[in-house]
Amino acid sequence: MATCPNAECTKTIKIFAFFMCEVLHFFNLIGSPKGPTQKMNLFQSITSALDNTLASDPTAVIFGEDVAFGGVFRCTVGLRDKYGKDRVFNTPLCEQGIVGFGIGVAVAGATAIAEIQFADYIFPAFDQIVNEAAKYRYRSGNLFDCGNLTIRAPWGCVGHGALYHSQSPEAFFAHCPGLKIVIPRGPIQAKGLLLSCIADKNPCIFFEPKILYRAAVEQVPEEPYTIPLSQAEILQEGSDVTLVSWGTQIHVLKEVASMAQEKLGVSCEVIDLQTILPWDIETVCKSVVKTGRLLISHEAPVTGGFAAEISSTVQEECFLNLEAPISRVCGYDTPFPHIFEPFYTPDKWKCFEAIKKMINY
């Protein structure tokens, strides 16, 4: 077991401890790829996906701030040397330019993989993403599209990131038809989902949980493989409560599920949504019909967060099946704080308490 880079962050250590179980998920991959695997952390699994893409698709280019030397999170290490400076290159420091440029590359028929250095800095590109990329196909009557565009950005809390290195902005984009938003929980999912995003003929935003870049390690196939978009994954089956989340928070929920089983005798069904938009309504609703209770958890602030969308849809579809109000355990409606992070995050105790309340409703 490698040591956690951030010793003070108890959450990181806890999450890390659960990665050993993730190895089992290798066998759950859709269309299990054969072939050799390699121990990879999250950023290495991203590099592997990008490497596969550059090898198989001669039009593919990767660009953004600092990607040439390997990237601030090392996701593009080695790619420029291997594939050339015209395919892996730095852009000026300008997110609206990075996404606008990426749209243009995609419209011209090439595969564009744009990196935004932190999801917190994606907002200058909001107009290009929402008004342009998302609407390109619709507004042109399918004459033009930017389906070849994938935007990648590090996402979520990291222990010390504060306001501008911790954000989870998926809810802003979830409100925008035409986009796909995907968030992996670990290296195996990351590679498969990223390759699906790149192959997908719609503009995709791929958020990478930065806290897991080094902490999450799995045996990841070297060959390319895809994990389908818009399909949630049931990580463990249960009968009493449905727990839904995505990205880092999945590992918290898995721990909460154990706690609930041990301390309350409550059986939890844990679902990784994986794709935020379009989301897998069927899998979640089917689960809630079975369990009657739903807890949704995310780091992003609770008001207007994506849990609100899930909650609203589930109560429409499964109203009479609900045994208790749907519970959301999320960040508070504050900017993401620095020193108060241990209090801010929707940790396992808050989730556990919410389950208790639902059971005793």
Partner: protein, 446 residues
């Protein structure tokens, strides 16, 4: 010194190694011919024994006088022209000497556009279409630049470039269909009028947000450069849109990433009601080009030959040298911003009349043609009658046509239909079946 030269050697080796590796995987995508050398960006080698500044950020000499650079807006970048306001060639070496057929085509396209504008503007006034934007006074910028391009060159526009599409052969029926949003609209009725697009004619569909096309054009040009097939990209925008952050982004990206791209700015004096002295304080848009390391020129946008010459040369060099060019075409927006605007609220009739009567691209070209005996009063009369007739016929056809099937409300959001959208579509249909008398179903295709 030794350190520097061994570093250079090392980088040289790396570069060589990169070429080798890349070469193994290369298709014709990786022909180095077109690429300027920007390998591992080596900042200039250090030599502190020289008095020259060693900063990586600029290459310059030291100076010991405190002096601010004065921006020159009194005598700014000069305006290149070929014809005077009466249509006489000033310097014969600049006459592109286009054939009579070509010049007549220029003239006919400009006047056809003008005729279509008049009729569609009127049709909005009569409530037949919801909105329209005319191109009065700027026809020269469209036709001159479009004629200088290859038909395969990709065009990104703003919204006042209909003449480019017309020059390329976009049928009147398609212009009308888009404005009427009828079932023949290539855009499937989704956008407001004048948001044209054509895949066949390499004209990317217009969108309302301003300047968003500018960095997109840079990206498209980069992809086109990698294809190495003698193709350029042109990006049109107004002087108002040039204030947007996206414009700065597009200029900077295209220069740093060495894209074969022509930026064509139509400086027509107004952004709706905002005159240029409230839009910028520097010497227009052309003066910004050098700030980005871009070759730039200012031309008389009402002189179709000047526009043609500048665009032709910019295109040739952009593709040959993989660098962007900035052309600022000075012109005047004779019409209102759109049918939602009444420009008498912010400018004088005298000002508008000057441009309409004394410096109009169409009349200047006509003078050129009549001086050569290529166009007579009779030709003018019969052409005006004929062009009006064809426009009216297209107009009447478009009027009669049904709107597209409302199913098209739900398609093309994604490439594929999603389960959720499908449910929404079905829910709309059930609702419309139940309340059908409240929905204008007869106007739409079934």
């Amino acid at each position: 010194m030794a350190a520097v030269s061994s570093m250079s050697k090392m980088y040289g080796l790396c570069f060589h190694a990169v070429r080798q590796t890349a070469g193994l995987k290369a298709s014709r995508l990786l022909q180095r011919r077109g690429f300027r050398v920007t390998v591992v960006q080596l900042q200039q080698p250090f030599d502190s024994s020289l008095e020259k500044p060693q900063f990586p950020g600029a290459s310059a000499e030291f100076v010991d006088q405190l002096e601010f650079i004065q921006p020159n807006v009194i005598s700014g970048i000069p305006v290149y022209r070929v014809m005077d306001r009466q249509g006489n060639i000033i310097n014969p070496s600049q006459d592109p000497q286009l054939s009579k057929e070509t010049v007549l085509n220029f003239y006919q396209k400009m006047t056809l556009l003008n005729t279509m504008d008049r009729i569609l503007y009127e049709s909005q006034r009569q409530g037949r279409i919801s909105f329209y934007m005319t191109n009065y006074g700027e026809e020269g910028t469209h036709i001159g630049s479009a004629a200088a391009l290859d038909p395969n060159d990709l065009v990104f526009g703003q919204y006042r470039e209909a003449g480019v599409l017309m020059y390329r052969g976009f049928p009147l029926d398609h212009f009308m269909a888009q404005c009427y949003a009828n079932a023949d609209d290539l855009g499937k009725g989704r956008q407001m009028p004048v948001h044209y697009g054509s895949k066949d004619l390499n004209f990317v569909t217009i969108s309302s947000p301003l300047a968003t096309q500018i960095p997109q054009a840079a990206g498209a040009a980069y992809a086109v450069k990698r294809e190495n097939i003698n193709r350029a990209v042109i990006c049109y925008f107004g002087e108002g849109a040039a204030s947007e952050g996206d414009a700065h982004a597009g200029f900077n990206f295209s220069a740093t990433l060495e894209c074969p791209l022509i930026f064509f700015c139509r400086n027509n004096g107004y952004a709706i009601s905002t005159p240029t002295n409230e839009q910028y304080r520097g010497d227009g848009i052309a003066a910004r080009g050098p700030g980005y390391g871009m070759l730039s020129i200012r031309v008389d946008g009402n002189d179709v030959f000047a526009v043609y010459n500048a665009t032709k040369e910019a295109r040739r060099r952009a593709v040959a040298e993989n660098q962007p060019f900035l052309i600022e075409a000075m012109t005047y927006r004779i019409g209102h911003h759109s049918t939602s605007d009444d420009s008498s609220a912010y400018r004088s009739v005298d000002e508008v009349n000057y441009w309409d009567k004394q410096d109009h691209p169409i009349s200047r070209l006509r003078h050129y043609m009549t001086a050569r005996g290529w166009w007579s009063e009779d030709d003018e009369r019969s052409w005006r009658k004929q062009s009006r007739k064809t426009v009216m016929e297209a107009f009447e056809r478009a009027e009669r046509r049904l709107k597209p099937n409302p199913e098209l409300l739900f398609t093309d959001v994604y490439q594929e239909m999603t389960p959720s959208l499908n449910k929404q579509r079905e829910s709309l249909w059930r609702h419309v079946q139940q309340y059908k008398e409240h929905y204008p179903l007869d106007l739409y295709e079934k």
